[in-house]
């Protein structure tokens, strides 16, 4: 019962105070996770790409036709912007102990969008896919990361 209430409060907080929530998460991620510049650039590109793709695909949210636990957001649903940003948390912490906090958080944020009824699972998965591709591309081509055998792996 308490867990259900806490989970609902968490999901609703992410929806109603998304800028505050993601601001805190991004600042924490920048402070704690490795490859900070890759993360920062990826976050910016992901935000822009998610916004542009929502306008391109014009796909409605499920809450327009079905009941949801919160008020239906006015923008389009594909891909999920929350999932796109939280997808970065799945990969950005690789090699750091902090990934044990951020990666599950990323998954929970994605799931919360389906739980609230504001996204379909496909829209959330697309968000995850978008950010994973963006992060991997930027990581691969970034001039800030060492390449090859000396790639920052723990010695």
């Amino acid at each position: 019962m308490i867990f259900d209430q806490a989970w609902l409060a968490f999901a609703v907080f992410l929806e109603n105070y998304e800028y505050v929530a993601f601001g805190i998460i991004i600042i924490a991620a920048l402070a704690l996770l490795p490859r900070k510049r890759v993360f920062a650039v990826s976050a910016g590109v992901t935000l822009a790409a998610s916004w542009a793709l929502k306008l391109f695909f014009h796909q409605a949210r499920p809450c327009l036709t079905q009941a949801a636990l919160v008020a239906c957001p006015p923008d389009f649903g594909f891909p999920s912007g929350h999932a796109a940003l939280s997808g970065l948390l799945l990969i950005a912490g690789m090699g750091s102990p902090w990934t044990l906090l951020f990666a599950p958080l990323g998954l929970l944020i994605g799931y919360s969008r389906v739980f609230l009824g504001v996204h379909t699972p496909e829209q959330v998965l697309a968000g995850f896919a978008l950010s994973l591709v963006i992060y991997l591309l930027i990581w691969r081509v970034s001039p800030w990361e060492k390449k090859g055998k000396n790639d920052g792996r723990k010695k």
Binding site: A103, E122, A129, L132, V133, W139, R140, V141, R153
Partner: protein, 194 residues
Amino acid sequence: MDEKNKQFEVGRQWFHILFGTGLLIGSVLLGPQNTRTAYFVAMLIGLAILHLKLSGMRLPLIDPVLSRFERSSALFPGQGALMYFAGALFVLSFTPFHFALGAIAIVAFGDGFATLVGLYGKWKLPWSPKKTTEGLVAFILSAAGIAALVIPPLHALSYAIILGVLETADIPADDNLILPVAATVLYYLAPFAV
């Protein structure tokens, strides 16, 4: 490239082709939704393995596979596999299922056969001396052939040609990621070309 490295690449590409074939057959059997879920789960597993390797852990079952099939120039362990699943998940999420299968087939077969044939090719491409004309032709023919099983043959050939030329470009990113993303972009640009 010396003979030892050539043999390494031959083994690597056959694994790439056979692995891709297995994934395609599995995808057809699972259907669209289950395939996306399966690829996402595979990504999560791959990320977990990556985390453990970057943390310095030894994984007795995984390390021999990585040392056999991963290039020494890889940015991180398992780069090829992770990029492959990420690219496949992307095209599965953003395009219709049958098209995504075609794109995944192009990556698996085209890229694989391009390398296998290109290793022994003689005619260097003018815009990319590291690649050969024979490799490019092998990419186009193999990719178009397999993709034509799931998308119209003329479309398959068109995508194979464009992606084959893209594959020869010296882009500092993994083909397993670039080609599916490019295929996705091409899918939405194609109506404007008609």
